[in-house]
């Protein structure tokens, strides 16, 4: 019996490792391919002769990306929207989470319900559009920062974190020492919430950086467009050639030859900021998000 089990456990381990290795390859291959294609010889990319590793090392794709004015403007706009948007997100999320974490807040259950109800029901696209329009926010950068200023889901994660990871005795002690709630928030709650704040920064920033829906609906000024809208034109709608605003001296043949490689370079350039942010936050995952979402 025991021996039988040992054998079956060994079989299990072998199968498990093999399957996980296959999963690992399936996950990484597309990413590796994009990286390789972005630094390969454009002719080999165009004829489909790059499979895994770069062939005929060449960085012309990146050079072309940086010649693109629309990409630069989109990059700059996305940075601005992401930075200010995330700051607003964190401010609203943490203040609300702190207030609603306090059991002595009169009307706490009602206020929580008012917030939580919006997770299950909403007005939808058209009434929201009419509201944003009547506020005069259409075609302004503010709409990109204000819309979605708080995610109730994230707020509840932060609230749970505060309740379960920061002992209430700390707040009581501070209170006895004459600390008011503002000071408790800034000197106790915020410093001790670093893990959850780090995770929320990643969530919110990725949302701002990667989203294009808000811009699609509310923006049409070319100078306000975020990166994702520019990417959509180039990657999905294939408008590489007709909307190029680079020097005319660069001949059409060269652009056509670089079109593919440039797309891959563009994918890399646009994804790098979030992938760079990720490792910094990753070590907080367990502390921040898991505690927040598991312990009711």
């Amino acid at each position: 019996m025991r021996e039988n089990n040992q054998r079956s456990d060994q079989v299990f381990a072998v199968v498990n490792y093999s399957l996980l290795s296959i999963i690992l390859m399936v996950m990484l291959y597309p990413i590796l391919f994009v990286l390789s294609a972005s630094v390969s010889n454009p002719d080999l990319v165009n004829t489909g002769n790059v499979y895994i590793w770069p062939r005929g090392f060449n960085t012309d794709g990146y050079t072309t990306v940086f010649e693109y004015k629309a990409v630069f403007i989109g990059y700059r706009n996305s940075f601005i929207y992401t930075f200010f948007g995330t700051m607003l997100n964190i401010t609203l999320t943490m203040t609300a989470a702190f207030a609603l974490s306090r059991r002595d807040l009169y009307g706490r259950n009602l206020l929580t319900m008012i917030m939580a109800f919006t997770m299950w029901f909403g007005g939808g696209l058209i009434p929201t559009f009419m509201l944003v329009n009547s506020l005069g926010l259409v075609n302004t950068p503010y709409v990109m920062i204000i819309l979605g200023a708080i995610s109730i889901w994230n707020m509840i994660i932060a609230r749970t974190f505060i309740q379960s990871s920061i002992p209430f005795e700390l707040q009581e002690a501070a209170r006895i020492d004459g600390c008011n709630d503002f000071r408790i928030f800034f000197t106790i709650i915020v410093p001790l919430s670093v893990p959850v704040i780090a995770v929320l920064v990643l969530f919110y920033a990725a949302g701002h950086w990667n989203g294009y829906f808000t811009a699609l609906i509310y923006l049409n000024d070319l100078n306000l467009r975020p990166l994702q809208i520019v990417l959509r034109e180039i990657l999905i709608q294939n408008q590489t050639l007709d909307m190029l605003d680079i020097d005319e001296a660069i001949d059409i043949a060269r652009r056509a030859r670089l079109a593919q490689t440039m797309k891959y370079s563009l994918i890399v350039v646009s994804s790098v900021p979030m992938l760079l942010l990720y490792p910094f936050v990753q070590r907080f995952f367990i502390k921040g998000i898991m505690v927040g979402s598991i312990k009711g």
Binding site: L100, M115, G122, I150, N180, Y212, I236, S270
Partner: protein
Amino acid sequence: MSKLIGRRKMKVASLISRRPIDRLKSSWQLYILLLPSLAYVLLFNYQPMYGLQIAFRDYSPGLGILGSKWVGLKHFMRFVSSAQFKIVVGNTLSLNILALVCGFPLPIILALMLNDCGSLKFKKIVQNATYIPHFISMVVLIGMVINFLSPTTGIITKLITFLGGDPQNYLTKPEWFRPIYILSGIWQETGWGSIIYLAALSGVDPDLHEAAQIDGASRLQRIWHINLPGIQSTIITVFILRCGRIMDVGFEKVFLLQNALNLSSSEVISTYVYRVGLLGAQFSYSAMIGFFNSIINFVMILTINSVIKRISTTSLW
């Protein structure tokens, strides 16, 4: 997670006895802190709910919301009897149910596999590799899909040719829209979805495994009889939440994969509302479609929650 909405009734004893007015006064700073987010929610979440009444009116911008004529269920009848109704609702539901059936079990399986993977280092590598796709934007994901499926140079097309298949232009074929949508979704979200189950698995009591081992249970038996029941309540909670979005198909992804040729299977409620409402300026009609969508979602989450409440101890509220 199961008790998301303030269930703990523990209160600070000294505060209970006081009158409401004193309690309001004593925590005025908390209200100030809450005010910005409350104001945001009231304005940007509740005002549109109020604005939803245009779904029952013939809205014209000149007359305003309250000035427009009340027409009752006219727009609802028009939507239900239109040729688009069956297509749009059918596409939305089948896309979502297929995505749920195919996508829901995978993060659980991945988490169980990772949990029983002996080498911590290998586990970390696989975990992080599977999280990366989650941080790639939808535009980039679909851009990659389009490039990989390119009929001439696409890497997946090459693979299909190599395996003896006959490559086509998959993106323009309605019958390929769903597989592309679902498979790319699996690639992007399986790893990320497994986080919550991994967290739940770390809470499974190791004594149970030890006892089972002494009784001669194999690894698979222990996974089936200890780990799976251990994360059951998490699975149920995630399932209920997912069912509450049975009518929500992510607009961004569908819209990017959509083209004139695959519209018969790719037109879903959210893209239809965008087309008819914003591009076609039929505000009342499309607001009604959006309302219909939200109501079904809302009823769905209430139903699933109450059904599950009856058959198990886990529920949202």
